[in-house]
Symmetry: C2
Subunit: 226 residues, 2 copies
């Protein structure tokens, strides 16, 4: 098993059978010790964050499997904080796909002239480039196509999957009296037919969730949830 | 005749017949005395800039009229540096629509991870909000629709018109040995049927043009052109 990538919140190892092992770390993204799922830096380290993130990821990826929604997930070992996944090719140098149910965060910073804070948004999808040096710029369907990152057909699949998965997560949270404001996903191409599937994770660190109007910290969310 | 709006490069007067008079000023956008068509501030004042901009605008709007491409243009008085136009309703609080033939400016600042400086782009269209406080953020077709700024059908009309008009300007410049890198337009709705038409101006201040690899200043461009 060989370390192939060291990420902000995960390390990636290549397995001999061609699959990959993701090791969930206790680091979460944020700025100056405050968690922010949109941040590009590790803001803080929280004991047990990796394992808690993996538990939630396993929970959601198994629900998606039941529903026939494609992901890279094979299995997870909570004790070891590792998840085994199929090899996936990312789009370009990596994209983030955001699904929004309420106007907060970067949406509000960009479109505050037209949107009120907390205004409901109908599973609005937007794509940003993973590019720390350029503050993860948003990118349109046309630009993704023109720059050879994603075809127009792939964009439609990506958008539909994002809304479908976002709605699954939202519904599960609703069952616990928690409201999902926004969530970010990563996707990749898997197999010879380049099927678009959800990759990475679905954990507290990828979403903004609220209960009775109060923001829930990622670790707290994971505790409330499982 | 009543002053209804004072813009960065133009003043707008309401006429008694319901039309509007645009008075072209000698101010051009830029930062610290350097012209930048994408800037939100008046960077410098240049004697004759208003009249030169109007001359080029008249030239292009009359070509567009011949070609049956809709604009708000009625007529122009070069001496007075004024243009008479039909009343138009802008989209939301104003949009800018950019047509790009080479990767420079904000496109490169956002997508430099995937694009080389000066790389050809095939009449790539993007829309930004006119919002000085938020640095004119780019906005997608989906967001324009969701925020009630522009319907999806209107977006398609806007995009097609932008490419059509961009290509007209590009062809005219090519005849003079000048290459168009990018150009920005404004559109509005005119009349009871809310027809989408080009508004504002087409002048050196709205485009980046190059000759033999050298950038041409707006006033210079207007001189070379007419």
């Amino acid at each position: 098993m060989k370390l192939t990538y060291t990420g902000k919140t995960k390390d990636v190892y290549a397995l001999e059978d061609g699959n990959y092992l993701l090791k969930f770390k206790d680091d979460v993204t944020g700025v100056d010790g405050v968690f922010d799922p949109g941040a590009n830096t590790v803001g803080l380290t929280m004991e047990g964050a990796g394992r808690a993130g993996l538990k939630l990821t396993k929970f959601f990826f198994e629900i998606l499997k039941e529903k026939g929604i494609p992901t890279h997930y094979i299995d997870a070992d909570i004790e070891q904080a590792t998840m085994t996944v199929k090899p996936a090719e990312v789009f370009g140098k990596g994209l983030e796909v955001i699904c929004r149910y309420r106007a907060v965060g970067s949406f509000l910073r960009r479109y505050g002239l037209y949107a009120e804070e907390g205004q409901p948004l109908d599973a609005f999808v937007e794509v940003t480039l993973k590019d720390d040096d350029r503050q993860d710029p948003p990118i349109s369907e046309d630009a993704l196509d023109m720059l050879g990152i994603l075809t127009k057909d792939e964009y439609q699949v990506l958008k539909a999957l994002t809304q479908q998965i976002g709605n699954v997560v939202k519904d599960e949270l609703t069952k616990k009296g928690i409201e999902l404001y926004d969530i970010k996903f990563e996707f990749g191409r898997v197999g010879d037919d380049k099927q678009i599937v959800l990759i990475d994770e679905i954990s507290g660190g990828n979403m903004r969730a609220y209960k009775d109007g109060e923001y829930i910290e990622p670790l707290e969310l994971e505790k409330m949830f499982l």
